[in-house]
């Protein structure tokens, strides 16, 4: 036997999520309609149990399943992040799904499967597993995007996401094929060994790495693979958008960092110029196009594209053995900051959204700050955090990020990052001005879970800024297991 109970124990959080989701399918199928809400509570319970298991696993470093999975600080950091995000996403979805009449328990089950996929991605150390985990993460996302049945936009979003996602999956698979052809292995550790031993056809290896980069670039919505993002974010049910904005990014970056840092550090001289261009394009396009948006969901979509650019920035010095640890830590920290801020801001969007896509324009936010000061202040905090202005965690994230990039010697990119942050201030703060300076009569839908998410995210955005030093130290411990 090449697998044992130890393997199962090492990936206990993932096993819990998968088993729980599978059991929930049956529970949901046999629950009478009156008790359907139990599914939601069970979902949260499952995520909490898995979260406890994940926290319990902190500090363990191990391999499982014949080296196909790796449990290390990196994976446990991301597991905790994605499980926490999952709980927030459930809280956002409960009221919304009921309000728009598609409160089916399968939504939460799909989300659990997606979370399991993301968790697998964060610890996968074999290209085959990475691909399968990516699909396990993505397919439920397509379904969640199309979950609002009968709504043309939602169906369009699901279809678009599915077609383009499948296309991107093809790129990754093709890339894996090339890497396998060049090295004769799919396990990252064997790939490294093969590369260090010298491969016969480095061009194939490079082509493979580039194709994988394209496919994962699609998942994290980096320019020029971002075209799907605004349409999908706009069309999907807002809680699904909130989840996919974070979930897909976590998974995509997990795989990207793991594959490139572990397996392809030697290719960095060839890949860094490409990455440089990718980052610059993402930053510029994301932030400039966001200015032109009138719909808050589209604006946040472009904002999430630009944040993908910032995270990718930390990825640039990945081949530099001296710097990559702090830059990976900076990327993880930024992901955390983005996740918290993003969930909070989507919570505000959910609170204002009405049926038939009403309440989503920027003008609909006029007067929010006067009528509902608490909500206005929360949104203000999120916008500040997105821009990167203290005292918010977004500032800490950007600060650490630029620091890591400068250590890597990419001064030009750091300057570009600061400049585009300034651009972004225009559209983030424009929303703040609309909220507080313009008069209007917005109506919010009261939903205690959404309120809870928004309030706690707002508090966390500020408080975590205060403790950003120990937090970053935690992220720095989240090192990758190298081979």
């Amino acid at each position: 036997m090449l697998y044992s109970m130890d393997d199962m124990f090492n990936i206990l959080p993932t096993v819990i999520v998968v088993a729980w989701a599978t059991a929930l399918i049956l529970v949901e199928a046999f629950l009478p309609k009156k008790y359907k809400f139990i599914t939601i509570w069970l979902t949260v319970l499952g995520l909490v149990v898995a979260l406890v298991a994940a926290i319990n696993q902190h500090g363990i470093e191990a391999e499982a399943f014949n080296g196909m999975l790796v449990v290390d600080g990196f994976s446990s950091f991301l597991n905790i992040l994605i499980l926490g995000s999952g709980i927030l996403a459930v809280a956002l979805a409960v009221g919304y799904n009921k309000r728009f009449g598609f409160d089916r328990g399968e939504y939460y089950i799909m989300m659990m499967f997606s979370i399991a996929g993301t968790m697998l991605m964060s610890s996968a150390a074999d290209l085959i597993v990475i691909f399968l985990a990516l699909e396990l993460m993505s397919i439920p996302l397509y379904i969640m995007a199309a979950f609002y049945r009968g709504n043309v936009n939602s169906e369009e979003a699901g279809m678009k996401y599915f077609l383009l996602g499948a296309f991107a999956g093809g790129f990754i698979l093709y890339g894996i094929g090339f890497v396998y052809g060049a090295t004769g292995a799919t396990g990252l550790s064997q790939v490294v060994t093969a590369i260090n031993g010298g491969v016969d056809s480095p061009t194939f290896l490079l082509v493979g790495a580039a194709l994988i980069l394209i496919g994962l670039g699609f998942k994290v919505a980096a320019v020029p693979f971002h075209m799907w993002t605004p349409d999908v974010y706009e069309g999907s049910p807002t809680p699904a958008t909130a989840y996919m904005a974070v979930g897909a990014k976590v998974g995509g970056f997990a795989a990207l960092i793991r594959i490139f840092v572990v397996a392809f550090p030697t290719l960095s001289t060839d890949l860094v110029p490409i990455l440089w261009g990718l980052v610059a394009l993402t930053l510029v396009v994301g932030n400039l196009v966001a200015i032109a948006q009138k719909n808050i969901k589209r604006m946040l979509a472009y904002s999430s594209i630009s944040h993908a650019g910032f995270i990718l920035m930390a990825f640039l010095p990945y081949g530099d053995a001296a710097v990559f640890k702090s830059s990976v830590a900076a990327a993880l920290f930024y992901l955390l900051a983005f996740a918290i801020t993003s969930f909070g801001s989507w919570g505000v969007v959910i609170a204002l959204e009405k049926s038939e896509g009403k309440g989503l324009l920027l003008e609909d936010y006029a007067g929010l700050g006067r009528k509902y000061p608490a909500l206005g202040v929360a949104m203000l905090i999120f916008m500040l955090s997105f821009t990167g202005i203290p005292p918010t965690i977004g500032f800490a994230g950007k600060f650490l990020l630029f620091k890591a990039v400068m250590e890597g010697g990419y001064y030009g990119l750091a300057i570009l990052g600061v400049l585009t942050s300034l651009f972004s201030a225009y559209y983030y703060l424009r929303l703040v001005i609309i909220m507080f300076m313009k008069s209007g009569e917005p109506n919010i839908v009261s939903d205690r879970w959404v309120t809870l998410v928004t309030a706690s995210s707002a508090v966390a955005t500020v408080v975590l800024f205060m403790v950003s030093t120990p937090l970053f130290a935690w992220a720095e411990q989240a090192v990758l297991k190298l081979f």
Partner: protein, 169 residues
């Protein structure tokens, strides 16, 4: 050795021809038929490489199951005939340009650039017969196998969820 090369060349010709036929055919049903031919040819490639299990799975799953469903959808939608696209004509020259660029790039890479592309791995492993394949799947590749199972379950449940009608209306 010689016969193998001849068979390979014939099959390669059929495979590429059917792929091109699939793309340029205006009738979607004929395109699907060309794709089936292509899958069948690929299955024979697998046979030649000593992997009968994969060859048969290729025919059963792709040529058999998936393409039948494709044909079904095409026929039920009545989408056989490609309508003349009323917009997007500008894409054609652009697409041709990109294709030419890609071909030049590929040719340069293969012949001019590295010149390092030819030696791919040459190990013929014993994955062909069902028993060794099963042993690999259930031992070495146990995890991917299980993940695939979960993936298919999620996809199946999801597909049913987004297509099933609510009973009440």
């Amino acid at each position: 050795m010689e016969t193998e090369v001849i068979v390979f060349l014939i099959l390669a010709f059929v495979a590429i021809g059917s792929a091109i036929g699939m793309i340029i055919n205006k009738n979607a049903v004929y395109s699907a038929l060309f794709l089936i031919l292509n899958f069948a040819t690929v299955a024979i490639f697998y046979l030649m490489l000593g992997a009968p299990f994969i060859a048969m799975a290729q025919v059963t799953v792709y040529a058999g199951a998936i393409m039948v469903l494709f044909l079904f959808v095409i026929m039920l939608l009545g989408a056989e005939q490609l309508k003349k696209a009323d917009k997007g004509e500008w894409q054609k020259p652009v697409a041709i340009l990109f294709v030419v660029v890609l071909i030049v790039e590929a040719v340069y890479l293969i012949f001019g650039g590295g010149g390092d592309l030819l030696p791919m791995i040459n190990e013929v492993s014993e994955v062909g017969d069902p028993i060794s394949l099963a042993t690999k799947l259930f031992k070495e590749y146990f995890l991917p196998f299980q993940v695939t199972a979960v993936l298919l379950l999620a996809a199946m449940v999801g597909a049913i969820v987004i297509t099933k009608q609510d009973k009440k209306s």
